[in-house]
Symmetry: D3
Subunit: 86 residues, 6 copies
């Protein structure tokens, strides 16, 4: 009887949200043995700016090829570079 | 940069909670293309009694073979029977 | 001192949201004996698509006569039919 | 298809939690016209100390006659007195 | 590793949301000794009407000088007056 | 009228939770100009194992000198080392 909530950034397509919801639901079915009838999920969407990770606003979602998030991609690259210089 | 929260019943083993967390995390990686570094998840546990689905308290989690939830199993069976008589 | 949160679909009128808020607040006053001054409630609204119940996206809210939800009504009817054939 | 969450203090009896859950569920049925089958509720319980209202920790729940909360009762009285002296 | 969520009313500027996020993040760093890398925050925004405090809808946010909330200001004044007459 | 929720690990003292709550409340007062009377906060506590950050369970909170979290300290050190080798 799990309730799953998922806070994500605005900008994903219905198809992407569908994929996310289905994979989360299946993950719960497989891991808990719960019947799918008892799994309830809500995706809450907000601007990237409203998410703050490690004291930095998350950039807005920028769709790239194959649903890749170009903005997040840049941020990860720059963090790994920073970390490697510490 | 998703935050996943999962409200589940007390009674699952660490191994079961680990499975749940890993499968949810992987589901988000696959569906959103997010780097795993930006995925944060919390599992909140409460007694089954604190969950109320369709106006009925959910029975406490009862571990069966292969991690199956015996209590939920009974409840589903009884609902399907009720529904088929409506 | 309860905090109530309510995740609902977009599309309800202010009047309907007012009804919902008042009835939830009164329910807490009656059931807990809490003074109304200590009850805080937030209604979060998202598209129906963002709600996934038993692995199916919930249809968008469609206002019918007397505030009835025509979309939900159809879905319930079809589930009961499915269940009765299992 | 609403999801209701309710953060309350530890210490209420099963009977009190049952009353709370039923009244919240009925409030949603009446106000939204939703079928009860689509209403899901979770009550999360924490010590009173973990609730902070207006910068003050909430006292632990103290059961009085008729399920009245004696601790909350004292707090409300003292606040009204303070306010009337401002 | 705290997750902070903050439900606020629509209408604040990016600069105000930035201030809020930074001050919340710093508060957690100072109070818990957590490394900033493990602090994750999401601000959820909804109309003032969706917030119900003590059985009254909260007025929409109205920006005043220095970021002061004129609507909230009026409400507080009127409550203190009411309380002082009780 | 903000509602702040904070999901943290078990193990902190009342004094530490008090510090956290006060600093979060003050942060909201300063950043939003809200009257303290309208700020409501709940701290939810769960075992470290229930938090999963970047696909890894968070170690349980281990109190060190000055409220420092020894477990988190070790984890951060090991991550920075990993990152610097990438």
């Amino acid at each position: 009887m799990p309730i799953i909530t998922c806070d994500i950034r605005n900008g994903r397509t219905k198809e992407q949200k569908h994929q996310l919801a289905m994979q989360l639901t299946e993950a719960v079915v497989e891991a808990t043995g719960c019947d799918i009838d008892h799994i309830f999920l809500v995706m809450r969407e907000m601007p990237g700016f409203n998410f703050v990770d490690a004291g930095e606003h998350v950039p807005e979602y920028v769709p790239g090829p194959d649903g890749m998030d170009m903005a997040g991609h840049e941020q990860i690259k720059s963090r790994k570079e920073k970390a490697s210089h510490n």
